[in-house]
Amino acid sequence: MSGVDGFFNFFKGFFVTGKLPFKPKVTVQYPEVKRPKPERFHGRHVLNRYEDGMEKCIGCELCAGVCPARCIYVRGADNPPDAPVSPGERYGFVYEINFLRCIHCDMCVEACPTEAITESKMFEWSFVSRQDAIYTKAELVVDDEGNPRQLPWEDWKPGDERNTSAWMRATSPAGVAAKEGQPLWSGELGYGVRPAQAGQSDPAAADHAAPFDKAVRELAGNALRGIGVEGSAPRGIENAPQKPKHQKGNKK
């Protein structure tokens, strides 16, 4: 390379960096501002209840059996005939998850035959003791309105309690394309039957309500804007919400 060329290239490189202060930022002011979380996000588990308040867990121990980290402990018991806890014969009598071991793989969610265990969107938590990390049934079962219980060491943000049905409800987990777009999920206390993603059943359904659906495009769009091709920023960026909207007041 000739010296003159090298000299020019030298400044071209500086130009790439030098124009960035005048471009929109791609970072957010965490923790005041948080990026929206996708529907399929794996967060802290919850144990769901049916719309009538009955617990979904039947104590079958499938979740404990499939967990690759072996962090679930379940013991089932027969339902008391006068005050049944779950609609079936048995219910989850003891239910514990050790979150020091959990890898949030969601195998338990897939295995559960009654959709009892799912994951919320909350992942910002810090325990101060091992005891706190072992969640018992009382902490995992949703409250009387169907919202996850918020423990003192957990940092819940508005919206984290939504979409607790995890990603299984969104698309058919069993791989049958024909069943896509149909909710394969029983109703939940406080939420009813949550809608399913359209999947292949409606290819035009690109703009889903969840704010995260635009997050990728927003990031990519900022990357585009950063190099001065504003015109080509993908649609949906201008009106992408900065923060997820607070849907439901659930601070007790």
Binding site: F10, K12, V26, W167, V176, Q200, L219, A220, I227
Partner: protein
């Protein structure tokens, strides 16, 4: 009789027939007293392979070096001989320097021992194992349908490739054919993963050679891809998405727009990085001619991936042993000529462009249909069927408690990961857990080329070398 300065008795002359023992300092450092016994440093850690440390040159005679050569995987007959290197090195003026294991430029917990003469590297030895967590052993404990939660953690920068290699091997044993949509989803995720992995490499490589702002840009670009992975799989790393039988879920709504946005943004960014990095005289001087590895040596050392292609060997498993549907898409295999760091840099940068090209074709050609095999023995029945049919419920229970049984046999399927040939070798004894699960990790094989490349180079170049080998220590140690 004179008193030797190595005597630690201090009370008189040692008996002439008693072996000289050396002082405490000698024993600590393993210095051998002339005429005394061979001393091993008390500070050395011993392994079954012998000491991890570089031994004093006086003690590493040709035979010993050749033995060590086995450990270091140096090509036959190239046992390190300092006289090879064209400088005058009195052995007591060299310095042994430890780089790592906690050094920002070793990309994880890699420890490099180098013997230096001034700034020139005479010998070097990568010491690995600091991240060894016995994952291959863990794989024997997990059922096949749990297996991808484990293998995905090996090469944590390209998790989809690990899952893919594992799944393809299990499917080969099972003899199942995954539906086309699953194949194309797998291809899409893997190519995007290659892009994200190469971006992280650009980031760390940039920071290693002084282009610190590249570190930030690389992470920024990778974030676009991770946001997409997060949307598809629910996790940013360690996805557990590609599984034996297909993928865990269909692509989410809006994936076409996302992939289109990625395919639009990244090539433009790449042009920018050509200005920022490729055209820079400083960067060129830093990379060109450094750590050249000729094609034959690269093959001898078992290198694969960008390292091998940089040396001029056009070997790409995607093209040469087609898996998934790579024979249906159009892409170029990027090959270098000199095998120096500059070639490896160029190979990776252009591979990002090729991967984006593949993604664009996938976007146009993604087939519709099932994303998992409809085999009740391998994949769970549709969730709504659980409520409808007792048979489906039984299959669901059996699958999640016992897993699926895999016929006796062994299978090895290589895939082209971002780092090279990644293969999973599985031996099945007919149960629902692998009898043995070995992963042929590209980082491990590629790292062996370090000693060969670093010999006679500068210490500052060692950092660049590690960077362009691009090892992931989770992949090396497993």
């Amino acid at each position: 009789m004179s008193t030797t300065d190595t005597s630690n008795t201090g009370t008189g002359d040692p008996a002439p027939d008693e072996p000289k023992r050396g002082s405490l300092a000698d024993r600590l450092l393993g210095r051998t007293v002339p005429g005394g016994p061979q001393l091993t440093s008390m500070l050395q850690h011993k392994t079954s392979e012998g000491a991890q440390e570089l031994l004093a040159r006086a003690r590493t005679q040709a035979a010993e070096l050749r033995r060590e050569g086995g450990v270091l995987r140096l090509p036959e007959g190239a046992a390190l001989d300092p006289e090879d290197i064209d400088i005058d090195v009195p052995s007591d003026e060299t310095m042994i320097l430890n780089i790592g294991p906690s050094h920002p430029s070793t990309h994880g917990v890699l420890r490099l021992m180098v013997e230096l003469d001034g700034e020139t590297i005479l010998r070097s030895k990568p010491v690995i194992g600091y991240l060894h967590t016995g994952m291959e052993k863990t794989a024997e404990e997990l059922m096949y349908h749990q297996g991808s939660t484990n293998v995905t953690r090996m090469d944590y920068l390209s998790p989809f490739f690990n899952e893919l290699a594992f799944s393809l091997s299990v499917e080969k044993l099972l003899g199942v054919e995954v539906p086309p949509r699953a194949t194309w989803i797998r291809m899409l995720m893997c190519e995007l993963n290659r892009v994200s992995s190469h971006f992280l490499w650009m980031a760390t490589n940039g920071s290693d050679i002084g282009a610190i702002n590249m570190l930030v840009y690389g992470w920024r670009e990778r974030e676009i891809l991770l946001a997409f992975f997060e949307k598809v799989t629910g996790l940013r790393m360690n996805h557990n998405y590609i599984r034996p039988g297909g993928v865990a879920a269909d692509l989410p709504d809006g994936w076409r727009d996302d992939v289109a946005a990625i395919c639009e943004a990244i090539p433009k960014r790449m042009d920018e990085y050509d200005n920022l990095l490729t055209g820079q005289p400083i960067l060129q001087q830093r990379l060109q001619g450094v750590g050249a590895l000729d094609a034959q040596t690269a093959l001898d050392l078992g290198c694969t991936g960008p390292l091998l292609r940089g040396s001029g060997v056009a070997w790409d498993a995607r093209r040469d042993t087609p898996y998934l549907a790579y024979d249906e898409v159009d892409f170029d295999v990027i090959v270098g000529s000199e095998g120096d760091c500059w070639d490896r840099f160029a190979v990776r940068i252009n591979e990002i462009r090729e991967s984006i090209r593949i993604c664009q074709q996938i976007l146009d050609r993604m087939p519709e249909g099932d994303f998992r095999v409809q085999d009740k023995k391998v994949t769970p029945p549709p969730r709504s069927r659980i409520d409808e049919s007792m048979e489906a419920l039984i299959h669901h229970f059996k699958l999640y408690t016992e897993g699926f049984k895999v016929p006796v046999g062994e299978a090895y399927v290589p895939v082209e990961s971002a780092r090279g040939e990644l293969g999973c070798y599985i031996v099945s004894d007919g149960t629902s857990r692998p009898y043995r699960c070995h992963v042929r990790a590209p980082s491990f094989a590629n790292l062996q080329s370090f000693s060969t490349m670093a010999r006679g180079g500068f210490i500052a170049d060692a950092i660049v070398l590690v960077s362009t080998i691009d090892p992931v220590l989770g992949d090396v140690d497993r």
